[in-house]
């Protein structure tokens, strides 16, 4: 996975950091203005649609944390989004509507699943790792598909959104949007902190070469496992929000197509930049919506874009931005 290792080469780190911060702030501010646009254009739908995009941005961000900084290409990452969604759906069914309880369950379940499957998967490398994570993701998918009591394959629709300490503020699309945006910003800051922390440094060192890390006294496994668990838990937060956005929970959220889509978002946006995952999610989802207006063969347009990006911008869309706006070497 040499792309991963070269993607974050910190040329003139400070300048880069500054431009990242500026870019991140710009993106988040633009996002925050969506409801205003939505209001001005009398188009309430826009807010809700962008909420979904933000949710996937969270999921892509969490994947970028392990894919971009740990070279751990998880092909089962959508499972955690599903865990989050089912934590909401199942608890709702049993009358537990508080979002904090749901979040706690989602995160707990994800941590346990990630710990177990990660411990096994991290024995493998490269493509083997990709495939073994796919296997675990598929197991989770089929498990929920067979859960007749909770709708099985049909999924289940929610009667209401989650409550926050007894209040139903999330019923407002506007509130849900800003809660989601706030979560995204919070998790982005958290992920940035993690990447720059002692832990993040070890993780990135391991990405470059696990053997070298051992040679200076680290045991990479535990750091990779911890990162794998953190990313899973973050993705499950996205799942909790997705269930609230769609007001529907379905095993389709955890299929391998979704995991693949997340990987595509991260690579397209630019691996190992954190912001790249977010940009990738926004671009892929907007493009999908936009292209599908013109033709039911919209997948062809998406495919073309992917190929063009790979051929002409090896660092993803983030690379294009960097070339245009970023500091020159």
């Amino acid at each position: 996975m040499s792309a991963a290792s070269s993607a974050t080469e910190p040329t003139a780190p400070r300048v880069r950091l500054l431009s990242r911060t500026v870019a991140a702030s710009a993106i988040f501010v633009l996002m925050a203005l969506i409801p205003v646009v939505s209001h001005l254009s009398d188009d309430p739908f826009l807010t809700l649609a962008f909420t979904r995009i933000l949710v996937f941005a969270i999921a892509a961000l969490s994947l970028d944390l392990i894919l971009g900084f740990g070279a751990l290409v998880s092909f089962g990452h959508a499972a955690y989004v599903g865990f989050g969604a089912y934590a909401v759906g199942v608890l709702m069914r049993h009358g537990v509507t508080d979002i904090f309880v749901q979040l706690a369950c989602a995160i707990g379940l994800s941590a346990v699943f990630a710990a177990i499957t990660g411990a096994i998967a991290l024995r493998t490398r490269g493509v083997y790792f990709i495939m073994i994570t796919l296997a675990f993701g598929q197991m989770a998918y089929f498990f929920f598909t067979s859960l007749s009591a909770y709708g099985g394959d049909d999924g289940m629709s929610l009667q209401n959104r989650s409550t926050v300490l007894g209040s139903d503020v999330l019923e407002s699309n506007l509130v849900l949007f800003y809660v989601t945006l706030g979560t995204l910003v919070g998790l982005y800051l958290m992920a940035t902190a993690i990447v720059n922390s002692r832990f993040g440094r070890v993780l990135q060192g391991t990405r470059e070469d696990a053997l070298r890390m051992q040679a200076i006294g680290f045991r990479p496994f535990r750091y990779q496992l911890a990162a794998f668990m953190i990313a899973g838990c973050m993705a499950s937060v996205a799942g909790v929000l997705l269930a609230n956005q769609a007001e529907f929970v379905s095993p389709a959220y955890m299929s391998w197509h979704r995991s693949g889509e997340l990987i595509v978002m991260v690579i397209l946006g630019g691996v190992g930049t954190l912001l790249g995952g977010i940009v990738g999610a926004v671009v892929v989802l907007l493009l999908e919506e936009w292209l599908s207006i013109f033709t039911t063969h919209w997948r062809m347009g998406l495919g073309l874009l992917l190929i063009l990006v790979v051929l002409f911008s090896p660092k993803g869309i983030g690379g294009i931005f960097e070339r245009v706006f970023g500091p020159r070497k």
């Binding site: 902190a193 993690i194 070890v202 070298r212 051992q214």
Partner: protein, 257 residues
């Protein structure tokens, strides 16, 4: 005298081939002990077993009186055994300073710290700078490791090895592939370090070995055929026959295993 490192009847076979065939060796604290041998003698295999990268089939590795035969590489490093060169410890995407600071970090405090910029930790950086100064790389601290010259990479390797606070340095062919000028630089550096550290030097380059070593062991076909001071080894007929005589004909490069 209690040895820093005792190797007791170490054995390793790859299929029918005995690559390490009953090696026993003691290394005293403060000593620079060199192991030489022709290509295919099993030098790298021996170092790999000492560093924990390979498991021996039989025998023991005792370090400071403790049996560490079954300890993994990271565990050995944490006890102060640093391996360098054939396994390069440099992370090319990191800056020079980050490389060394990471090694400092490995032995100072938990790395399960998720917040706080590691780059801004004065404790790590200051300690790292000490080692960079020692090897003469202080002025390149902020450069990306990838952009260093070949010789500077070797200096950085040393800095990283020293930063792990070693009590025993396993230097695995540091002179392999160096030009004359670089070799001279490296020799200088090792002269400096010598005496402050216990060093096991596995090397192909005769000049360096005879200039540096306190004692030399000669490895041929997985066995140590002689151990002694450089002068003794030079005078040893068996060694001459098995090894020194063919020195000119063996190419440097891929080491045995």
């Amino acid at each position: 005298m209690s040895a820093r490192l005792e190797i007791r009847d170490l054995q390793k076979r790859f299929g029918a081939l005995a690559v390490t065939d009953g090696i026993s060796l003691d290394i005293a604290p403060g000593e620079l002990h060199a192991v030489i041998g022709p290509n295919g003698a099993g030098k790298t295999t021996l170092v790999s077993q000492l560093s924990g990268q390979l498991r021996p089939d039989a025998g023991q590795v005792v370090y400071d009186g403790q049996d560490i035969t079954h300890l993994d590489m990271a565990g050995r490093v944490r006890r102060g055994m640093a391996r360098s060169f054939q396994i390069t410890t440099i992370l090319h995407g990191f800056t020079v300073l980050q490389n060394v600071a990471l090694a400092v970090q490995a032995r100072s405090g938990s790395s399960f710290r998720f917040f706080g910029r590691a780059d801004a930790e004065a404790g790590l950086n200051d300690a790292a700078m000490v080692f960079l100064r020692q090897v003469g790389l202080a002025d390149r601290a902020q450069d990306i490791a990838r952009n260093l010259s070949h010789g500077e990479h070797r200096q950085l390797e040393f800095a990283i090895a020293l930063a792990t606070a070693p009590r025993l340095l396993l230097l695995d062919e540091p002179f392999a592939g160096t030009g004359r000028e670089e070799a001279a630089q490296l020799l200088d550096l090792m002269q400096q370090i010598k005496g402050t550290q216990t060093i096991l030097l596995v090397e192909h380059d005769m000049n360096a070995v005879f200039a540096l070593a306190d004692r030399v062991s000669v490895l041929v076909y997985g066995q140590i055929i002689a151990t002694g001071t450089p002068d003794e080894i030079r005078a040893n007929a068996e060694v001459r026959g098995a090894y020194l005589g063919e020195e000119e004909t063996t190419a440097s490069g891929a080491a045995g295993c």
